[in-house]
């Protein structure tokens, strides 16, 4: 007899599954350390959440009590942006399990849809977004208790809109990221989008110093435009009702509900396709065209063995095929542009930013940032290799050679980035002093081996599989995040201290001497760690293979 399917039983079984997976993950020492790291990260988020809640509550109370409820949009827009952008920017902190794995079970479509929404609800961004919305509700209710039922209805609709939109964005991103070429295009577009946001601040600083009529007109248009978008609609719905414009308020709410329904329809399109078992295999989509193949001889690195050169070539090819990674690596130059625009704007008010006040520190800052953007690669060297890491263990090559090949790639990227940064600094700020340039290079000679040594160890002790072609969904170990950040903070603190001493004595060459002295310590540390790589990798091979080879 076929058993009857009970949706509630299925949903509770899935909830229990998630719980068991969490609990079972704590069996290993590494799982426990991941939990501790996650608790620290969550604590930091909670503090931010509490701050956001307080700010939302006070702001909402102020605007509503002053009879300016339409200004609630000022609170709702940041909530909206945080809810939508943060999950994509900081996937290391998000928790979106793959609901597609549940499709093998006899779930009906509505259950599947609900599960997707439920998974999204437990995402930290959603949790913090809900806290913010609750703050707005609390502030509104305290200011005007009579508004509570209406505000509850409006803000609930707004929260559902955000939840549905976040899932829609993810679902469609998944669709586009499922294929290599579109995945890379999406990555590039995403980073450009992010960069454009980073440029907005300095641009605003640059232009808003002088009253400009066209700017005022633009601001008016933006204000009108935001009023017909979901955060503005939610604010309008509450404001109009507070001003006894009930029909307008109801209209705004219905419009918001209609937008939510439309977004939900788009989500429905994606989820239905998934539910029916769509196949996004890119291999099937590619035309089979016979192409002539010439003999491809590998690269030669004079002074290094064949395996080291082979690993170097492989790493470079991997990076070259990853648009998102490439763009991440050129971020230091873009950041220089951003700081330059900001610095110039401030300079008009005779309030230059940090780099405007201390132009000597621009090149060291850019070089430090170049080192920082390598963190993802250096501290998770085998993440992109996935199951390929087995090959390294099966081949007759010492692990230290493999690590050396990878570190050579990282060092080459750092070298290229630092050179680009030097050119950009020269262009934007003027050629750095020779003493500064030498001190910066000496600083890198100290910091880079330390980063590589720590990165090599963490790559083996705390690996996470990652896809080079995706951006915003990088799976990073929480332990690695904490450890790498800790190391960067220490290195930056030492660097700042050394330059401070040099400035104190008004002789920047002192910095070079100190850095070279520190490099004399850090380089042997790197060599010692590298020499121990063989035994460490052998000891940790099971954990490494289990983590990277899992489906």
């Amino acid at each position: 007899m076929t058993p009857t399917l009970h949706r509630r039983a299925q949903l509770s079984a899935i909830a229990e599954l998630r719980w068991r997976m969490f609990v079972n993950g704590l069996r290993s020492k590494r799982g426990k350390m991941e939990l501790v790291s996650r608790i620290i990260v969550t604590a930091a988020f909670s503090l931010g959440g509490l701050g956001g809640f307080a700010a939302a509550t006070v702001s909402a109370w102020y605007f509503v009590s002053q009879g300016k409820a339409e200004f609630l949009a000022v609170v709702l827009w940041p909530i909206f942006f945080f809810w939508q952008v943060f999950p994509v920017m900081a996937t290391a902190f998000t928790n979106n399990p793959d609901s597609g794995e549940l499709l093998r079970f006899p779930l009906n479509y509505s259950s599947y849809f609900l599960i997707r929404l439920a998974y999204g609800f437990f995402d930290p961004a959603s949790a913090l977004g809900c806290v913010g919305v609750f703050g707005v509700l609390l502030g509104t209710t305290v200011a005007r208790p009579a508004l509570f039922p209406w505000a509850l209805l409006v803000l609930l609709t707004f929260a559902i809109f955000n939840l549905v939109l976040m899932q829609t964005v993810f679902a469609w991103l998944e669709r586009w990221l499922a294929q290599r070429r579109t995945r890379e295009i999406m990555g590039v577009l995403f980073i450009l989008f992010m960069l454009s946001f980073q440029l907005i601040g300095p641009m605003m600083e640059r232009f808003d110093k002088k009253p400009r009529p066209e700017l005022s007109r633009a601001a008016e248009i933006v204000t009108q435009l935001q009023a017909v978008l979901p955060p503005g609609l939610a604010a309008s719905a509450i404001a109009q009702t507070s001003h006894a414009q009930f029909v307008s308020g109801l209209g705004s709410l219905l419009f918001l509900a209609a937008v939510t329904t439309a977004i939900g329809f788009l989500l429905n399109l994606r989820l239905r396709a998934q539910f029916r078992g769509e196949n996004l295999s890119e291999a099937a989509a590619r035309p089979t065209v016979a192409q002539a193949q010439g003999l491809q001889v590998g690269w030669n690195l004079s002074g290094f063995s064949q395996p080291v050169a082979a690993v170097f070539e492989k790493e470079v090819r991997y990076l070259a095929r990853s648009g998102p990674m490439l763009l991440t690596l050129i971020m230091p130059v873009f950041m220089l542009l951003v700081f330059r625009l900001g610095g110039k704007g401030n300079a008009l008010q005779h309030q230059p930013n940090f780099f405007g006040r201390v132009p000597d520190m621009v090149f060291p800052g850019a070089a430090a940032y170049a080192l920082l953007v390598l963190t993802n690669l250096v501290f998770n060297s085998f993440g992109g290799d996935a199951a390929g890491v087995q090959f390294f263990f099966a081949s007759p090559v010492h692990f230290r050679q493999i690590m050396l090949g990878k570190n050579l790639t990282h060092a080459s990227i750092l070298l290229a980035n630092t050179a680009l940064a030097w050119i950009a600094v020269s262009y934007f700020y003027g050629t750095p002093q020779l003493a500064v340039s030498i001190a910066t290079v000496a600083g890198l000679l100290f910091a880079t081996p330390l980063n590589f040594a720590a990165g090599n160890l963490l790559s083996i002790y705390s690996p996470k599989k990652r896809d080079f072609a995706t951006f915003g969904r990088q799976n990073v170990s929480q332990m690695t995040v904490l450890a790498s950040l800790g190391l960067q903070i220490v290195i930056v603190a030492i660097g700042v201290g050394v330059f401070a001493i040099a400035h104190l004595y008004q002789n920047l060459w002192i910095a070079s001497v100190i850095f070279l002295g520190l490099a004399a310590i850090s380089n042997p540390v790197y060599v010692i760690v590298l020499r121990r790589m063989d035994s460490i990798a052998l000891q940790r091979r099971e954990t490494l293979l289990a983590e990277l080879c899992r489906a």
């Binding site: 590619r286 090959f391 010492h398």
Partner: protein, 275 residues
């Protein structure tokens, strides 16, 4: 006169916490054998092959490949063997040619030789028609063929294959089989795991079965030479296997119908030699 074994294990065991995955396996595979390592799921086949290839450390026991202690000289052993592990160990974001060239150089071939052999192997495996296609875009069968090509690019004397025919269609399987038989004909030794008796019967000259028994059962006591406790190995010549290997029987190892070819080293990569 008994030939020195190509693969030899003594008391090979592996524990995962409380779980004993492989316990006291003694194995001797003679040169030139096409050795099938058969057993049900979870019997310890993959664990054993991982230990034999250095992907997993044994809890106890000794492994010698071509007379070299794997634990003492892992790099020297790995130089002589080829491996297709369970997950195939491919680098998805390289093309087939790039991956094979990389593999060849990791096994000590110079750049030009690695590139030449890569081209030959791609041609033999019928993977040469899409040189710009990334490995991640290959079908499962194509990936299996590529993994095998990478394992033989340096001309190994011993080849370890973990479930090489799993998920492979008949045409790809035919290509794989012809390459493996060509290697045996040239004197290489192949150690293959499978849970499918039919595959092992068709291909292998010698067969061993590994299977778990509940605790230290009577079976272990009846097979003291091959199994010490929870695992039993039965080894026999392929043709006689069906007739003789009934539960609890230990069959002495025999040389297969393929005579060992000790005089020369198998060289992979030449199309003419595979055909």
């Amino acid at each position: 006169m008994d030939l020195a074994p190509t693969i030899s294990t003594q008391g090979l065991s592996r524990r995962f916490g409380e779980l004993v995955a492989v316990d006291g396996v003694n194995l001797r595979v003679a040169p030139g054998q096409f050795f099938g390592f058969l057993g049900p799921n979870g019997a310890g086949k993959s664990t054993t092959i991982k230990m034999l290839t250095g992907l997993l450390a044994p809890s106890s026991g000794k492994i010698e490949i071509l007379g070299i202690d794997l634990n003492a000289h892992p790099v020297e052993v790995k130089r002589q063997i080829g491996v297709v592990p369970e997950g195939m160990a491919l680098f998805g974001r390289l093309t087939g040619a790039e991956f094979l060239s990389f593999a060849g150089r990791m096994y000590g071939l110079d750049r030009t030789t690695a590139a030449k052999r890569a081209a030959e192997l791609l041609d033999f495996m019928q993977l040469a028609d899409q040189p710009k296609k990334l490995v991640t875009d290959y079908s499962h069968g194509m990936q299996k063929k590529l993994a095998l090509a990478a394992a033989v690019i340096h001309g190994p004397k011993v080849l370890f294959l973990d479930e090489p025919f799993e998920g492979v269609d008949a045409i790809a399987a035919g290509t794989l089989k012809s390459m493996l038989q060509g290697m045996i004909a040239r004197g290489a030794t192949i150690f293959l795991t499978s849970h499918v008796l039919e595959i092992v019967e068709r291909l292998c000259s010698h067969v061993a079965i590994i299977h778990q028994t509940p605790g230290r059962s009577g079976l272990a006591r009846r097979a003291p030479r091959r199994s010490r406790s929870r695992h039993s190995l039965r080894i026999g010549r392929r043709r006689s296997f069906r007739r003789e290997a009934h539960p609890g029987t230990t069959v002495p190892a025999h040389r297969g119908r393929h005579a060992p070819h000790r005089s020369g080293t198998f060289v992979a990569g030449m199309k003419a030699k595979f055909a």
